[in-house]
């Protein structure tokens, strides 16, 4: 279907973040993390903008062009009260996906993301927004779809 080149990027998010240290402290205080499931052991990861989270992700290979696909993600540290939103866009075209993925947290603490669809070839960015309380921190990767 297409060849995919995935490269991790860590960028400063356009949303927010007052102080990474506060989040880090909250993380340590939470004390409710769970271990990463073994199936994510060999998956790539990307750090969030401030560095408080690492997002492990499992994408289909190759990524399908103009067909719906699902992905899985694991956010570390895995906090019960952290939420994940996944979206994607083509910044050079000034548009996102035409679909809104649904995200479900599984019993093992990982996230199942369904309803992704890249309808055009070219440069896409996938955004993982981790929100805990009032603070959202973004990790993102880019893919090139032919």
């Amino acid at each position: 279907m297409s060849s995919t080149h995935v490269r991790n990027q860590c960028r400063r998010s356009h949303l927010f973040v007052m102080a990474g240290t506060l989040t880090a402290a909250a993380t340590l205080l939470a004390g409710c993390t769970v271990p990463r499931p073994p199936r994510f052991a060999d998956d790539p990861k990307v750090e969030s903008a401030i560095g408080n989270y690492a997002v492990y992700y499992r994408l289909p290979e190759p990524l399908p062009l103009n067909e719906p696909f699902a992905l899985e993600a694991w956010v570390e540290p895995a906090l019960d009260d952290a939420q994940l939103i996944v979206d994607a866009g083509m910044p050079h075209h000034h548009h996102g996906m035409n679909q809104q993925p649904t995200i479900a947290r599984l019993a093992d603490g990982s996230f199942a993301v369904d309803g992704m669809l890249f309808h055009m070839p070219g440069y896409w960015e996938i955004y993982f927004d981790v929100t805990r309380g009032p603070v959202t921190e973004r990790a993102q990767i880019s893919v090139e779809l032919e």
Partner: protein, 468 residues
């Protein structure tokens, strides 16, 4: 649209292409002249591995996809009933008068299942161009705004639209009930008509009319019992499923382009199937033209929605929200894939609609049409704004007359600065996408011998009251 009318559109294009051919003698410029001679084979482009990879993704035409939301999609009896209904003028409301406002009235097989007009005209004048039905069974969304997600729910909309056929599900059910041949066909497929619809008290027209409870059709609908409403909805959905079974047969693939791709890496193939100009156009199509951004895949469409920036046909036409309104309509449509009349409410087709979202970015976007058979279906764009393929390619090349994108709009299209010969080359390539028509028997009203399957149940007695 008559053959004469159609020739008025085609002739200028042929003349234009002939002029282009004079300037570039190697270009086969006539419509339908995509087949090539062996003398031009020696000058064929040397395709790179990347080009070949991209070209191969455009062919062959895929097989007809299954439609699990319609378990009668491939039922021969449903095809026959659908064909009969497609050409039946009695589906239209009394506003049609003496005009043929059957489905075929606008989707005329003699005009490649469109009407050849910029803006469709039926009981009233509409605001969009009639799309052709060739290969319609492959589509992901239906209508320019994608307001339905199944082929069987698509025809239900124009039957009841006030400016199209201005009819009602009540009228359609009475026709099925009172026409012995149609009733036999229907009952052989879907079972007997429900008893609640067999009484003499069924109104001539009845349908829900959102936003107008005082409409005569709405009052008649409200006077029906819940049982009658439910039964009528079920039968109306079945009518759509029969029409869809017929429309799915309107496949038109196997074009000269497909034959070219099949022999692309066979240097000893007898002919390249495409003129040199069409091959140059193909190279532009998969390269500098950036056409693949929206017209990729084996049907040369992404089946999604974009704003090309083309100006309205007339300034008097109302602003058209396009996909923005289409998403809202789809989510309210009781006949959608996830709705109660679907035969697969949780499958992949139903899931598509669950993931779409109405955002400001959707405003003014329209569905990318397939380019297969595009040379047959002038004029072009959602309001028929551009009369010829040459005008379309020139519009994308120069962007002259295009509206500037707003801050919510995607910014994909940039001027290509194509030369006149390059424009002619792309047009020649687009002509090579005309496929082989299906069996002629599908393109005319069914004859008595083909319109009915052998009855498996006795034909019911004619009711006392007949609408016609």
């Amino acid at each position: 649209m008559s053959v004469l009318d159609r020739s008025r559109l085609v002739l200028p294009l042929v003349v234009m292409l002939a002029i282009s051919a004079a300037a570039a003698p190697s270009v086969h410029a006539q419509a339908g002249a995509a087949e090539d001679t062996s003398t031009q084979q020696a000058a064929a482009p040397e395709w790179t591995a990347r080009q070949i990879r991209r070209i191969r993704r455009l062919s062959p035409m895929p097989p007809l996809p299954a439609d699990p939301t319609n378990r009668f999609a491939d039922h021969p009896g449903a095809v026959a009933l659908g064909q009969a209904l497609f050409f039946d003028r009695r589906l239209a409301g009394p506003g049609a008068g003496e005009r043929d406002l059957s489905c075929a009235g606008c989707h005329d097989p003699r005009s490649d299942f469109d009407d050849g007009k910029p803006i469709a005209e039926a009981v009233g004048t509409m605001t969009r161009h009639t799309p052709s039905l060739w290969n319609v069974g492959h589509q992901r969304w239906f209508f320019w705004d994608g307001r339905t997600d199944t082929l069987w729910s698509q025809p239900l909309d124009p039957i009841e639209a006030a400016n199209e056929m201005a009819s009602s599900r009540g009228r359609v059910i009475r026709l099925l009930r009172d026409d012995a041949r149609l009733r036999t066909q229907y009952e052989n497929i879907f079972g007997g008509l429900p008893p609640s619809l067999l009484g003499d008290d069924l109104p001539a027209d009845a349908r829900p009319v959102p936003g107008d409870a005082t409409h005569a059709h709405a009052r008649a609908w409200q006077a029906l019992t819940k049982q009658q409403q439910g039964d009528m909805n079920r039968c109306f959905a079945n009518v759509g499923k029969a029409l869809a079974a017929y429309m799915r047969r309107l496949d038109r693939g196997n074009s000269p382009f497909d034959r070219f791709v099949a022999t692309l890496e066979q240097p000893d193939a007898p002919t390249p199937h495409l003129s040199l100009g069409a091959q140059r156009g193909l190279a532009l199509f998969v390269g500098r033209g950036n056409c693949l951004s929206c017209h990729g895949g084996t049907r040369l469409t992404d089946d999604e929605f974009h704003d090309t920036g083309v100006a309205p046909l007339h300034e008097t036409l109302p602003a058209d929200a396009g996909r923005y309104a289409g998403i809202a309509a789809l989510q309210k449509n009781p006949f959608r894939a996830a709705g109660e009349f679907s035969d697969d409410r949780t499958g992949a087709i139903a899931k598509r609609a669950q993931h779409i979202k109405q955002t400001p970015q959707n405003y003014g976007r329209f569905k990318t049409p397939s380019l297969r058979n595009v040379a047959l279906t002038a004029p072009y764009m959602h309001q028929g704004q551009l009369p010829t393929l040459e005008a379309v390619v020139r519009f994308y090349s120069t962007r002259e007359g295009a509206r500037p994108p707003g801050h919510h709009e995607e910014q994909i299209l940039q001027p290509l600065h194509l030369t006149d010969r390059e424009i002619a080359d792309l047009v020649a390539f687009l002509h090579s996408l005309t496929g082989t028509a299906p069996a002629a028997a599908l393109l005319t009203p069914p004859t008595a011998s083909t319109s009915s399957t052998a009855p498996t149940a006795p034909t019911p007695p004619a009711p006392a009251t007949r609408p016609r």
